[in-house]
């Protein structure tokens, strides 16, 4: 399940909803990861653009990988502005046993950072500045720039 929200995530509500959705599903482990905007470099917050068609297909591929391990993943992300100490990202893995979920959440979040089509901007002094130095080129990037 992939959910996108305008602005900050309501963390307690989302974690509770996910917990309740799977409470009777016989999963032994529920491992959530919550990303919170920290105060650093004088920013007022972060802002996000998302390209939904490719995010959805990327997520579906991961859901299929999870299914092969008897697990499921859930993910929520913000669009637009998220201020300091608010949250923009939650993902969680539910699995029969803890080891699968602990390993899977690590692998999933790493690929999320490297591949999910989401762009981050710093909100600073009333401006929205692309976080270029913290961004990662998607695998296969640069083909249009190669000299013919």
């Amino acid at each position: 399940m992939l959910s996108l929200y305008d602005g900050a995530l309501d963390v307690p509500k989302i974690l509770k909803e996910w917990y309740e959705e799977e409470a009777q599903s016989n999963y032994g482990a529920y491992i959530p990861f919550v990303g919170t905007v920290r105060s650093e470099d004088g920013i007022d917050g972060l802002s996000f653009d998302i390209y939904e068609p490719i995010l959805e297909s990327w997520f579906d591929t991961w859901q299929q990988k999870a299914k092969e391990k008897g697990a499921i993943i859930k993910m929520a992300h913000s669009r637009g502005d998220v201020l300091l100490h608010e949250s923009s990202y939650i993902s969680a893995v539910f699995s029969p046993k803890r080891r699968v979920a602990l390993e899977f959440i690590d692998e999933f979040v790493e690929d999320f950072k490297a591949s999910a089509p989401i762009w981050k901007y710093d909100l600073k002094d009333g401006q929205r500045i692309y976080a270029k130095d913290r961004s990662t080129a998607i695998k296969g990037s640069g083909i249009l720039g190669a000299k013919q």
């Binding site: 653009d49 923009s88 979040v109 762009w119 990662t136 998607i138 013919q148």
Partner: protein
Amino acid sequence: MVRVEFLGPIQKDALEVEISNLNELAAILQEDKELTEWLQNSAVAVNDTIVNSLDVALKDGDKISLLPPVCGG
């Protein structure tokens, strides 16, 4: 016509171009000096599937997206 969209921080309006493959698109976009850095670091999707090579035939109505470096979370 093929539609070309520039996503995220690339501040450029979509283009409609008459091309039949990605090599032709590369030649057109390389003329635009403002795009030089984005072409080096962006991924390319054809109809919302990322491609790893320019050897892709295009047809009327296809959509190409340029995806610059990402940072979710």
